[in-house]
Amino acid sequence: MTNQPRRGEARQEPRSLRSPLARVLGQGSAKDGVHHWWLQRLTSVALVPLTVWFVVSLLSLPALDYATVTQWIRQLWTEVFLILLLLTGTWHSQLGVRVVVEDYVHGQGMKALSLALVTFFHVVVAVAGVLAILRVALGAP
């Protein structure tokens, strides 16, 4: 019984010349484990004031018609905070959704595909949002 290969072991490079040590070293930590955690915290801290500002400002607007909204966006601090909100928000969101996908989507192919879609989605939102703000701010049509 002790000499029986464990389940799944047969599939793994049966004749590899790599020593078990080399294999372990090759699969070890990429030394970026804390990076994700830290950015999640950093973006959280930034998003507390940014999101509260956004919700309060939006609710404080006297109306949501085109003139009012563009006038609001054209104020310097609105532009700054809106762009910060979009960049920080999409970043934080991407980090969070990524973890959920990693936890609940199984199968290498599906997982890779989902993670790619998550990344694309957030990049599109960030780019479209920031460009839209800049267009309004710089007074294009």
Binding site: R6, R7, G8, E9, R11, Q12, R41, S44, V45, L47, V48, T51, V52, V55, L59, S60, L61, P62, A63, L64, D65, Y66, V69, T70, I73, L82, L86, G89, T90, S93, G96, V97, V100, H122, V124, V125, A128, G129, L131, A132, I133, R135, V136, A140, P141
Partner: protein, 131 residues
């Protein structure tokens, strides 16, 4: 890949309901807010596309279905905000004793509910709404 030992999974923990509930809710509300980014981007792009396009988009954005979505987003925002602050406090090493965590989960439910009711009331009574 060889079968490697896994860390104990969800089922082995004796989760008291509040730990499980607050954690899962934080994730779910986070996901909902991520989905809400679509609306934010759509709104911003509509503004950038000029008055005619904005009026058309306003028609879409003030649909009845979306009012429910806005209410959900306000609720999820209220929760995720305070749950996130709770996590940040935990990160400093404070409040992680069982009794403290139990109390703060109750406080979290209360504060986020009050915040949601406040925001929803504000949104309903703000003048000249309907985007």
């Amino acid at each position: 890949m060889t079968e490697r030992p896994l860390s104990p999974h969800l089922s082995v923990y004796r989760m008291r309901r509040y730990t499980l509930l607050t954690s899962i809710t934080n994730r779910a509300t986070g996901l909902a807010l991520s989905a809400g980014l679509v609306l934010l981007a759509y709104w911003l792009v509509a503004i950038a596309s000029g008055p005619v396009a904005y009026r058309r988009a306003s028609g879409v954005l003030s649909l009845g279905v979306l009012k429910v979505v806005y209410a959900i987003l306000l609720a999820t925002f209220s929760y995720h905000l305070f749950a996130g602050i709770r996590h940040l406090i935990w990160d400093t090493g404070r409040g992680i004793e069982r009794e403290q965590a139990k109390r703060s989960s109750l406080l979290l439910a209360l504060v986020s509910l009050v915040a949601f009711i406040g925001l929803a009331w504000w949104a309903l009574h703000a003048t000249g709404r309907a985007p």
